[in-house]
Symmetry: C2
Subunit: 298 residues, 2 copies
């Protein structure tokens, strides 16, 4: 049965790209903010939601975390990590070596991510901010008579019928965005084209008091059990429950002995521990462009 998925839109954003890889056969519903996505799944309008949680281009991590912590009771059912690959694209009518854009449209973060390229290759060309990379592609599509280009992803080029004139113009090649899949019930990963990367378990730990020793004790509970942490992040809490909250990702599936043992030990230390989810992790492989095929795939 097809699942309905609320995602951070509009069409052809990086979130859309991640959803399309993970759930190729399901029904996507674009929402304009992260809380709208979370409300949709929380109130039963959709089966699941996919929103950015780390290094987000079109969303904000903290909005997602704050909602997960304070607002909704939705387990994490999966994560997908997508490389952020930015390309420069023009209307097909303007696809000639002589065409030089006067203005480049994109989201401010995308422009910032391609700063060195723009500085070196297209110095002096005006950049205009748009609300998403997909919105930039749409402007280029609708204005073939104007000397403009967009910075956006491959999906936006396809969606709006644009021609990519230069692939992979982003400055740092290791830039990724992590998205989480949230649902009240079990999620079906059918025909996914993303690559499985094993399992993760995410815990939220509130320390009883703000001192360095407490965090050290928390980590001891994992270290002596040889539980590998793939991420730890502190967030300030201003709600009186404690000074800091830690989001900890373990590189394993929830088990019957080790993780419950660590949780009990943390609770005995006075911490409040919540399980945000235990779930499969997926990765979207980087698309090699023509120029790089020989280096990367042979």
């Amino acid at each position: 049965m097809s699942q309905s998925i609320a995602f951070l839109g509009p069409k052809a954003t990086f979130t859309d790209l991640a959803v399309s890889r993970l759930f190729p056969d399901d029904t996507k519903i674009a929402m304009s903010t992260i809380p709208e996505c979370l409300d949709a799944v929380s109130e039963g309008q959709t089966d699941l939601a996919v929103v950015p949680i780390e290094n987000a281009l079109e969303g904000s991590v903290n909005i997602t975390l704050d909602y997960l912590v304070h607002e909704v009771d939705l387990p994490i059912r999966g994560e997908i990590i997508t490389p952020i690959q930015q390309h420069i694209m023009v209307h097909p009518d303007n696809d000639s070596p002589a065409f030089l854009p006067e203005t480049i449209y994109s989201h401010s973060h995308a422009i910032a991510q391609c700063h060195k390229f723009l500085h070196k290759e297209l110095s002096g060309i005006r950049c205009e901010n748009t609300t998403s990379t997909a919105a930039a592609a749409k402007i280029v599509k609708e204005n073939p008579e104007r000397k403009i280009a967009a910075i956006a992803n491959e999906m936006a080029a396809q969606e709006y019928g644009l021609q990519i004139t230069k692939h992979n113009i982003h400055d740092f090649s290791h830039n990724h965005t992590k998205f989480v899949v949230l649902s009240k019930s079990e999620v079906q990963y059918k025909n996914t084209t993303a690559v499985p990367q094993g399992y993760k378990t995410t815990l939220m730990v509130m320390l009883p008091a703000d001192h360095s020793g407490a965090l050290h004790q928390v980590l001891s509970a994992f270290a002596w059990r040889k539980l590998n942490l793939s991420k730890i992040e502190s967030r300030p809490m201003k709600t009186g429950l404690g000074n800091y909250i830690f989001i900890i990702d373990l590189e394993m599936k929830m088990d019957d002995v080790l993780v419950p043992g660590a949780i009990s030990e943390l609770e005995a230390l006075g911490c409040k521990v919540s399980l945000l989810g235990s779930y499969p992790s997926f990765m979207v492989e980087e698309a090699a462009d023509q120029a790089e095929v020989s280096l990367k795939t042979r």
Copy 2:
């Protein structure tokens, strides 16, 4: 002597607000991306740069961190933490109880931050995304004949002569953004209206290998010296230098004994440690609106 400051613009963003509190007498120069701000100070066009580094509304943390780690050699000379307070505002011509906007303009993150308020109080009203909260205020200023409102900060209301019809409509009252002050030379904090919060020292630690025990050892070096960590954040490194990088904030000024001792111990464990800065921390106090004055200030 007046200092020149590159900041993430446009005028009346939350970055502008932070800079105006911290450096009321200095010269502000608005830039449109974080890398532009960092290049400006790095290449000597301005004396300093102020950019968001955590929980950013108009910028992305990771862009700032990646630039600090990989690109520029600029010490952190200060930080300022600003509460994110969102207000709804209209053109003064439309400031009547009978006025009901048909469309509300703001940055998508601001709309997301006010999601519950909008859902409850202004349900069904269309929201349109803009590239910044300040840009939304500008649209409202320029279109008095239209039935529109903006969500933005107090500074934007002043800058564009708008009337705030409802203060503090953001859902979570503990939402803050942290900005860092970067400069090659000493920074003068003259006539600042922000409140000093003591000193911090920020270290970047690269672990030799990716295992939970390594992080535990790193924290031991601080814990047994009773050095208090106010923040720890892991970031994946994809450059071959190690799997993870940790950004650690200590709640103290760099000293001659304890911090250098911890650094030496970390280096002996095979870590690569960089001092990103040791600097004063400032806080902008929350502005109380009329309704809240009696509760908060008396």
